[in-house]
Each structure stands twice: as structure tokens, then as C-alpha cells.
């Protein structure tokens, strides 16, 4: 059914996808796991990054600058969500949904129309394809994504171990203790949520350049994909320590994309993708609860927020 060359291509393609969507998963990991801040801005900030990249590249801006601008735009989106939460006390889930919905209109405004092609524009991948040895589409995509991923990994791995990074991680663990230690947890929350959405928008900007177009609806379900990737990474690798956690998230994204690619190759209708991803996350969230229920452990009622 699956020829060896097909297998190789699937693995390579999933590796590339695991890296570019991995930025998004790292962002989701930062908010959901590190900060315990359920942030749904992702569906909007992913497209925001893509839209900003597309418009700038079409205007002739250097694709690396355009990619950085996407990251900056994502930071701003995260900034708004976290300000709504910390300064106006709107619950995180609602604040992020509000920004996500608002971003749909903003993204349409940026793009001017629902989709933009980038096929003949100069992108980071078209530049990479001019380097010797990187002529094949899969190779230059993979190498380009890998270089970016290494940079992002090194920065995050360094930052999360700094004094500020530690305060950020502690905020999601025990906010009361962190305030008691003299840290303004509003600031760490704002920093974390902004950084996370910067990563998500970076992912959107890179994906847009790789696939050669932007669609205003391309963000639907991205938050669930990110969650699925994080859950898979944690379940498969049970990582300890900052570096391994980050790598596990990237690896989890790779496994998720691989499973999806194989399923599509085996005839799954592309339209069913979201349903299956949602089911995957529901199972992953429900199984630990059901296990405890079977063991008759006491469990608190489900949080509403």
C-alpha cells in the first residue's frame, strides 16, 4: 500500500510540518501548560501571522522581515488578550475568544479579500531553494523549517531558564506564591501570552510561505491541533525539564502530522480532519478522568472557565 519512497516522503513531509506547526504547538504549550491560561486567540493569531506575511511579501518586503513582522503582530494579538484578562478581569477563555473573533475581521481587513496567493512571490522558502543542494521542494522546506526551529528552540530554552522565565513558569504553577515573591503576575501573564501568540503567528507566517497562499479561514481548529500535539508529545515522551518538554512538543506535532498524513493517504476525507482531531483531544482529556473514576478517586467538579 505504502511504497518505501512514499514512506520516506511522508516522513520528510511530516517532519517539515511538525516543525512549522511546532511553533504553534510551542505557543499552545506556553499558554495552556506553562501559564495555565486557556488561550483560544490562536485560531485568529495564526491567520494574522499569515496575512501580515502575505501582504508584506506582495508589497515587496524582504521575506525574513515579513516573517519577523508576523511574529510582532502575533505578540500584539496576545497582548490584547492578556490585557483583557489581567486589567479588565475578563476570564481567559472569554477574553481569547473575543480577540479570536475580532481578529477574523482584522485579518480580512489586512488581506483585503478572503484569500491571497503567494506562489510567484519571493518567500523564505524560495530563497532557500536557491542554495546549492536545496533544490528539491521537500528538502528546502525541511531545511528552512529546521533552521527556524533550532533558533526558536534555543531562544525558548534559554529564556525559560532565566530569572524572568522562571517567574513566568511559576505563575502558571502557583500565582499566589509568585506574587508573594514580589513578582507582578499580571506582567508575567502578559509576557507569556504575548510570546505564545507571537510563536503562533510565526507559524502562520511560515506556513503561508510554504503552501503559497493565505486563506482567512486557515486558522479554524488550529488551537485543537496545537493541543493534540502537546498532549501526544507529553504522552509519548513523558518529558522532564525545559529542554525535553520543548522537544517533546515538537516531536508531538511531528507524530500528529504523520498520523494525519498517513490517514489522508489511506483515503480519509480531508473534511473529516477536524472531527478526528477533536475526537483525539476529547479522548486524551477524558481518559485520565475516567481512569480515576474507575479507581473511585475523588475528583473536583469540572471547572466552567
Amino acid at each position: 500500500m505504502l511504497e518505501p519512497t512514499v514512506v520516506g516522503h511522508l516522513l520528510g513531509f511530516s517532519a517539515y510540518e511538525g516543525l512549522v506547526y511546532g511553533f504553534l504547538a510551542l505557543g499552545v504549550y506556553l499558554t495552556f501548560r506553562v501559564l495555565a491560561f486557556p488561550d483560544l486567540t490562536v485560531d485568529g493569531s495564526f491567520v494574522l501571522g499569515a496575512a501580515v506575511v502575505a501582504v508584506l511579501i506582495i508589497d515587496g518586503v524582504n521575506p525574513f522581515l515579513a516573517t519577523l513582522a508576523a511574529l510582532g503582530a502575533g505578540l500584539c494579538a496576545g497582548l490584547v488578550t492578556s490585557l483583557l484578562n489581567t486589567k479588565l478581569r475578563i476570564p481567559a477563555l472569554l477574553a481569547s475568544i473575543l480577540v479570536m473573533v475580532a481578529l477574523y475581521s482584522i485579518n480580512l481587513r489586512i488581506m483585503g479579500r478572503p484569500n491571497l496567493p503567494l506562489l510567484r512571490e519571493v518567500t523564505i522558502f524560495s530563497l532557500a531553494s536557491q542554495l546549492p543542494g536545496l533544490e528539491t521542494r521537500l528538502v528546502y522546506q525541511l531545511v528552512g523549517a529546521a533552521v527556524l526551529a533550532v533558533i526558536v528552540f534555543l531562544i525558548l530554552n534559554w529564556f525559560l531558564r532565566t530569572e524572568i522565565g522562571l517567574a513566568l513558569r511559576a505563575t502558571g504553577d502557583n500565582e499566589q506564591m509568585v506574587r508573594g515573591a514580589g513578582v507582578d503576575t499580571d506582567k508575567t501573564t502578559i509576557l507569556g501570552v504575548s510570546t505564545a501568540n507571537g510563536l503562533v503567528a510565526l507559524s502562520g507566517g511560515v506556513v503561508a510561505q510554504a503552501q503559497g497562499f493565505v486563506d482567512v479561514n486557515m486558522g479554524i481548529g488550529m488551537i485543537i491541533m496545537g493541543l493534540a500535539a502537546v498532549i501526544i508529545g507529553e504522552a509519548l515522551f513523558r518529558p522532564k525539564g525545559v529542554a525535553r518538554l520543548l522537544l517533546a512538543v515538537l516531536a508531538g506535532t511531528f507524530v500528529y502530522r504523520l498520523v494525519i498524513s498517513v490517514a489522508l493517504r489511506l483515503g480519509m476525507a480531508p473534511g473529516d480532519l477536524k472531527l478526528i482531531t477533536a475526537a483525539l483531544v476529547i479522548i486524551a482529556l477524558a481518559v485520565p478522568y475516567l481512569q480515576k473514576k474507575i479507581r473511585r478517586e475523588w475528583l473536583p467538579p469540572a471547572p466552567r472557565w
Binding site: T162, A167, R169, M177, V178, A181, G182, D184
Partner: protein, 281 residues
């Protein structure tokens, strides 16, 4: 710094909860209190007397009402929020979970505590020098935690976590240490260890401490000053000399005289010899 200088001054501190509803509670009622440098104050009082609220106001969790003022070393800190006041205040809570972060290692927890009230930057949160410092601070506990710096705090027992919380609260040598029934949920043996350690740290570092407790025996034996609260007011304030020969019975009499009420807190009366009090919640 002279020994008798007022380190902490509270002026007309009031705090009302659920204001304007049938559940209105006057937790603190125009309290004035001068705390000298080196005071180690046991704070007792029945449930709802305002003990925890007093600590919360000192820590900056809520601001006082109606123009109440708080001064640390004659500096007005009334307007400073909790995190801005952390420089002056270390705190150990009743629940060990509140004072420590479960999903981080002992080393990471201590690195958080070390920089209490100081600016945090982009330096590495921990290094060899800081690890040595953490190691040295944990050795006196005698719990072996110094050899488990990389262990997640969530894997420690409640007593170990509370001992760690105490070390963390004092690591940056804050001017004021607030202990909110910090041994109430521990088993008697661990409670004794944490209590001995508290005395040791407070004495060694010449700290100024407020220790809230439900236990009169404890309040008599520990600290060099004792205050008793009732309905948001301080009804008894004794220095070390007056406290020295006191019995629990004397305290009860003092309470009844000061408050004009009969003393009816079973928590305090029924188990005078037991260091394990009950919850203030």
C-alpha cells in the same frame, strides 16, 4: 538599627468584608499596632477574630479602609500592592501548597524565593553559587532536602513542603516574617520540627515575626510578645515579662476581662497541650 525602633506601624486599620450585605463582617476595627524590630509576636484569637486579615493587610493583599495607614521603617507603604511589598515581607501560609510551586523543582522554588522583591532579569535563574546557597539553607532542616534540589516539590510530603516554605520565606531575609498558622496542618512531630526551625531562624536572623496560632500553649511558649484579637480588635498585648509566668487560665481570664465576654473557643480550650490547632478557614 536600634532594637526599639518601630519597624512596622499600623494606624487605624479597618477592613470590612461583604460591606452593605447581611453577611457584613468587620474583620479589622481601627487597629493601631506598633511592632518593634526583633519582636516575635504570637497572635491568638478565636475564629473570625481578624488574625489572618491582619496578616493580609500587612502583606498588602488588601488595602486598609477609611484612611488607615501602614508604615515600614517610617515609610508609608499603604499604597503598595502585595508584590511591591514582598521586599519587606516573607510569609508562610497554613497550607503548604500555597507557599511552594508543585510542578517546579526545589531548586527552582528557592531561586524564585531568593529574589523576593528584587528586580528579575535575563540571567540564569540558578547557578553553582546559588545552588550552594540553597544547599546550605536546607541543611539545618535535617530532612535531606539539600540532596534533592532537582526533585519536584509536588513529590514532597506536606511537612517537607512546609519546612521548605519556611526556608523560602526567610531566604531573602525580609524585615517581617508572617506565619499564618503555619504548623496547623502538620502532624505533631513535623509540626515540632517546623516550629523549632521557626524559632531558630527568627532568633538567628533577628527577624521580626508575627505568628498566628489557635494554640494558647504555643503562644505562651514561643515568641517574646503576645497579642490576642477579638472581633477585629486587639484586646490583649503582653510583652515578654508579662508573658513569662502566664498560664492558659490567666490568658482566658485576661481575654474575658478585655472583651467582656465569656471565652467559648473549643479549639483553644480542649487541647491545650497539643500543638496541632485547627483550621482558621
Amino acid at each position: 538599627m536600634s532594637e526599639n525602633k518601630n519597624l512596622l506601624k499600623l494606624r487605624r486599620i479597618s477592613k470590612v468584608f461583604s460591606k452593605g450585605t447581611v453577611d457584613q463582617v468587620r474583620a479589622l476595627d481601627k487597629i493601631n499596632l506598633d511592632i518593634n524590630s526583633g519582636d516575635y509576636i504570637a497572635v491568638i484569637g478565636s475564629n473570625g477574630a481578624g488574625k489572618t486579615t491582619l496578616l493580609n493587610v500587612i502583606a498588602g493583599v488588601y488595602p486598609p479602609e477609611n484612611g488607615g495607614k501602614i508604615f515600614v521603617n517610617d515609610r508609608d507603604v499603604t499604597g503598595l500592592s502585595e508584590y511591591r511589598r514582598a521586599h519587606y515581607v516573607g510569609r508562610v501560609y497554613q497550607d503548604p501548597h500555597v507557599g511552594t510551586a508543585a510542578k517546579m523543582t526545589i531548586e527552582e522554588n528557592m531561586a524564585m524565593a531568593l529574589l523576593r522583591g528584587q528586580p528579575r532579569g535575563l540571567r540564569a535563574a540558578s547557578n553553582k553559587q546559588r545552588r550552594d546557597l540553597f544547599h546550605g539553607a536546607l541543611v539545618p532542616l535535617g530532612l535531606g532536602l539539600e540532596n534533592r534540589l532537582a526533585a519536584l516539590v509536588g513529590t514532597l510530603s506536606g511537612g517537607q513542603r512546609q519546612a521548605l516554605a519556611l526556608v523560602m520565606a526567610t531566604l531573602s531575609k525580609p524585615a517581617i516574617l508572617l506565619l499564618d498558622e503555619h504548623i496547623a496542618t502538620l502532624d505533631p512531630r513535623t509540626a515540632q520540627i517546623v516550629l523549632d526551625l521557626t524559632d531558630m531562624v527568627v532568633t538567628r536572623e533577628k527577624m521580626t515575626a508575627l505568628m498566628v496560632t489557635h494554640n494558647m500553649e504555643l503562644a505562651l511558649r514561643h515568641g517574646n510578645r503576645l497579642i490576642m484579637m477579638h472581633k477585629g480588635r486587639i484586646v490583649v498585648d503582653m510583652n515578654q515579662q508579662r508573658k513569662a509566668d502566664l498560664t492558659i487560665h490567666d490568658l482566658v481570664v485576661a481575654f474575658e476581662r478585655a472583651s467582656g465576654e465569656e471565652f467559648v473557643d473549643d479549639n483553644v480550650l480542649l487541647r491545650p497541650g497539643n500543638v496541632v490547632g485547627t483550621s482558621d478557614l
